[in-house]
Symmetry: C2
């Protein structure tokens, strides 16, 4: 072919283009040879166009057309023709036309594929995927599949929309170093040995936290970066050695501004890329309420079903299991204004729920550390039946009145000395019910919420000291500044999490900018001056030169795109992810390196994995 460069993509030809001479480039998605007549579905990332090699074609062209196999990469020169009415394919954007080939050039051929690029479905309609390691080994082919194309394209659109929004709001994107100092805090660092400085190591950042705070000290006042981050953690479903976050920080700001900026960004992203309208304001739920009502600090709010406090029930019977939940949590009740006796009223399902189904729910509660799941039903006469009903016979009107229970409702209870244990366990049951009963509001595909007012400190039982729940640069809420040392457990932080559909999407906080306050935090969590100096000395030092009030947040990009595409793993939205052993079957990394490379780095391996 004289000029085989495409003049149009495989997604753009329409009826109005009939008669045009075009060149298409792409991959043979399917090819049917009807003897003298060959139909080729030619694919690129923009779509599929049908190419026809007709009766009138030269023998040479027919020969080439007949030789085409799946995933050959070819050029087709030809003329756009209208399909006859019966051949129009309404499911295809280009379904009204086909291209009558005049010439075909095979750029490159293809071996037999390890798996199909086209969707494969079982008889019941479920999509069958090749196994994960095969997909990762041939990732370049896996990425040709339509869902992966959509995922990667959406990811690109999301990052660009993010940058558009933040840039329009005066944010600067500033690159921070990925070779930083290793600090033995938080998760495990990935290290990079230095050749120039024997025995010394760089660390790859778990986040740009310290550097973005330094940029605030430098006066860049609105920073963001779509930043690669690294954590050497043991594999769990959703973990990758490297991941990406939308890292943001602002000076001369307050919580309200960080929250509304983030809301504006999400609204813009969802509107621009999915044409989905998010609400103008996201719910704000205190950490206490999140646990109390949903049993989680990342509640799935696509369905209502709130937990209730049932402490009043402890006095209504001799049922001992309820006493502990209601009574033995005096200090927690004081702090959280709630008891450890929690109830769920599941509307109008009592007749559907067998003992076996309830046992399945109980096992969910128990996995989540409940001692058990108490239950009873309200029968057709409004009487309690089953489970613990005998303890509460005759109290129907008081209990149903207070809990808002009616005929045919199922009542579920968890009681625990510890308020949070009860909440988490019954919250897990709540989540399970959401799935089992498909309680999701179809108009609420993406439900964002802010969780605010987190506890600042947590008591580390094993090591017998206070720790910070988030990180040590978080600002304690001002009303607790006088009682940081005297009652650490009561302190709330100026902390906020953004949750979406039951996932934590972002974590952020206002930061400390006063070196003296910072030192008090170090002291409460048992950091010696020396240790604090060694780990964070340069940040503490920087704060001595006029640090502005500042705060920020860091939505996870991988998870955001995963949720936007309703995928279940971030593997699906990363072009070349690692498997659950942090390895890549495609390029076989990590791998053994040359002795010379180790010598250069002044290193010896003490152990070598067997192949």
């Amino acid at each position: 072919m004289e000029n085989s460069k495409r003049t149009v993509t495989c997604g753009e030809l329409r009826k109005g283009d009939v008669g045009k001479n075009v060149v298409l480039n792409g991959w043979v998605s399917r090819s049917r040879d009807l003897g003298g007549l060959v139909f080729i579905q030619l694919r690129d990332r923009y779509g599929i166009t049908q190419v026809m090699v007709g009766d009138g074609a030269s023998d040479e062209l027919k020969k080439i057309a007949s030789s085409l196999k799946s995933e050959y990469c070819i050029a087709v020169a030809g003329t756009v023709a209208a399909r006859s009415e019966k051949d129009v394919n309404p499911d295809m954007a280009t379904g009204e036309i086909e291209v009558e080939a005049k010439e075909i050039e095979i750029f490159t051929t293809s071996q037999e594929l390890p798996f199909s690029i086209e969707e494969v479905r079982q008889k019941d309609g479920t999509v069958v995927l090749p196994n994960e390691d095969l997909r990762l080994k041939y990732r370049y082919l896996d990425l040709r599949r339509e869902p992966m194309q959509k995922n990667i394209i959406l990811r690109s659109q999301v990052t660009f929309a993010t940058r558009e929004y933040l840039t329009s709001k005066g944010f600067l994107e500033i690159e921070t170093p990925t070779f930083i100092k290793s600090t033995p805090e938080g998760a495990r660092d990935y290290l990079v040995p230095s050749r120039v400085h024997p025995g010394k190591f760089y660390s790859l950042p778990q986040s740009p936290q310290l550097y973005k705070q330094l940029l605030m000290v430098s006066g860049f006042d609105k920073y963001f970066q779509i930043a690669r981050c690294y954590r050497d953690e043991d594999a769990r479903g959703d973990r990758q050695p490297e991941f990406t976050q939308i890292d943001m920080e602002m000076s001369f700001t307050n919580r309200e501004e960080v929250l509304t900026t983030t809301e504006g960004m999400m609204q813009y992203i969802f509107k621009k890329t999915l044409n989905y309208e998010l609400p103008a304001k996201f719910d704000r739920i205190s950490w206490d309420d999140a646990f109390d009502l949903y049993g989680s600090d990342k509640p799935d709010l696509r369905f209502e079903l709130k937990m209730q406090d049932a402490a009043f029930m402890a006095d209504l019977s001799d049922f001992n299991a309820f006493k502990a939940g209601a009574a033995n949590a005096a200090k927690e009740i004081e702090r959280h204004k709630r008891s450890g006796l929690k109830a769920l009223v599941v509307k109008n399902v009592a007749d559907k729920y067998s003992r076996k189904m309830i046992e399945a729910l109980e096992s969910v509660a128990k996995i989540n550390h409940a001692k058990g799941l108490a239950w009873m039903k309200v029968d057709a006469e409004g009487k309690f039946e089953g489970g613990i009903s005998k303890f509460f016979a005759g109290k129907e009107s008081e209990i149903c009145g207070k809990l808002g229970a009616e005929k045919n409702d199922l009542l579920l209870f968890v009681s625990d000395e510890k308020w949070q244990v009860a909440c988490v366990a019954l919250g897990a049951v709540r989540k399970q019910l959401g799935k089992d009963l498909n309680l999701y509001n179809p108009k609420d595909e993406f439900h964002f919420a802010w969780i605010i007012d987190f506890p600042y400190f947590a008591w580390n039982e094993d090591e017998n000291h206070w720790e910070t729940e988030h990180h040590m640069f978080t600002l304690p809420q001002k009303k607790y500044w006088d009682t940081l040392e005297s009652d650490p457990g009561a302190v709330k932080g100026d902390l906020y999490d953004l949750v979406l559909n039951g996932y934590e999407l972002a974590s952020g906080s206002m930061r400390i900018n006063d070196p003296a306050l910072q030192q008090r935090i170090f002291k409460i969590v048992g950091y010696s001056e020396e240790r604090a100096q060694k780990a964070f000395g340069f940040l503490v030092q920087a704060f001595k030169f006029g640090a502005p009030p500042h705060g920020g947040i860091a939505p996870g990009l991988d998870r955001l795109v995963m949720l936007m595409r309703h995928e279940e793993s971030i593997h699906e939205v990363i072009a070349f992810p690692k498997n659950n052993l942090a390895a890549s079957p495609m390029d076989e990394c990590p791998s053994v390196v040359d002795q010379q490379q180790l010598d250069d780095l002044h290193l010896k391996c003490t152990e070598i994995e067997k192949e």
Copy 2:
């Protein structure tokens, strides 16, 4: 102060704002206490606003105002007032107004600074900077300086403009992994030891080359990424362990499209961020011409001054040094159509150039491997004088005619058996003359050009084999496909470099997509199948499934921004660079890590640097 959050920035108040109540946040740039009257220059990244604490202020406010020192971070609430005519500062955007403070809140104080944030000039006007390591140690303060603020802000604007342009052209930004397989090719890799796989290592990418080519195999057809790259090289002025490139790749394309896309991108970036119009087309100069005319494959084209071939002069005299240059390069003459006897005619400077000044030029030539720098002048009568003039007496008219020399011109010559040696040496003299005589065209602040038609192979004298000049995935130009093996030295690659003001800004090429052609290249450069398989097996494998024709380029972001700001080091355009020992004086990395971290990674250090 009840609400100390700013309502305006320090750069935006104008005469029309007089009378408004505002809150400013920023740093005290300067503060003058005139006894009862305090003037504060308050700075943020948007500008400086003068704050005045007047006679009528409360004692408390006066006390606070008097206590302010440089770089205190404060909030000021006050009223915008017009300055009296004599106090108007036309050099300041906010110079027509000042803010009469009603309240001042000190967010944080500042220690004494290690160096001034304001510009410091010597008496002769040259700017004095603190020493590099001090700047890097207190980088967060160094970044408060106005030139650094401008550099970092421009960098952010450049990256956004890049993304806007490429996105508008249908490019997708796709993140490629930074944990990849180490291949002992090219520069030295940085390694990341694996904890999960003892004795194995990830490598950090020197560029996303293989992965962007895989994305082409996947069908993403227009890819870019502003990508962090890593090279463990010994420090030279312009090197950083981590650097950033605008990585691009396209499928179903050709050289023309890659070049015009890159030109369009640069035009857009320069227009949007500097309001500078680049020409619609950049010069295209063959590699042969670049050396022949400018002595470099990254010529500085902001001034004309071309070298000329002076082979004809060898026959005009007995001057032996010219014979070699003209004659002994027969093969090169055949290949490059040029000789090794090169001349420069420097217009109208003969009377200004002393013997000593010419000796300085000769030393430049010699450092660049010339045996010497021959010279003569054309005197006021049109006769040759000085240097080698005695060999060419009486030939003035022929020589001046052919070289275009006139009265008072200085003629400089380098002659060498090797064409390229002569070109490089005289080209270095050319560059020096450009600086010495300030030959730069003031209307040509940024002069881009393409260098094309590079030699594909280079002969490695030490190891006695052919190597590729660029990388092994580059496409040889089609007309050489039949003679790859029989005459590798003649092969030109489908390669292109983008140069700007004498710097190489980008390197790119069309790539091989035919596995058989790829194998031929591996063979010519002496790669065994096993070695090629080990290093690039997954790419070669991928190409067996229908690889599209593709090509790309990768402009260096650090260098681009450096040149746009007329800086001399990329350190000036990176927020937190490493020093020339690949270390950061601020956070003291690289550093010794805990034994536990090494144990986790199954590593032992064979040597530890002394502090």
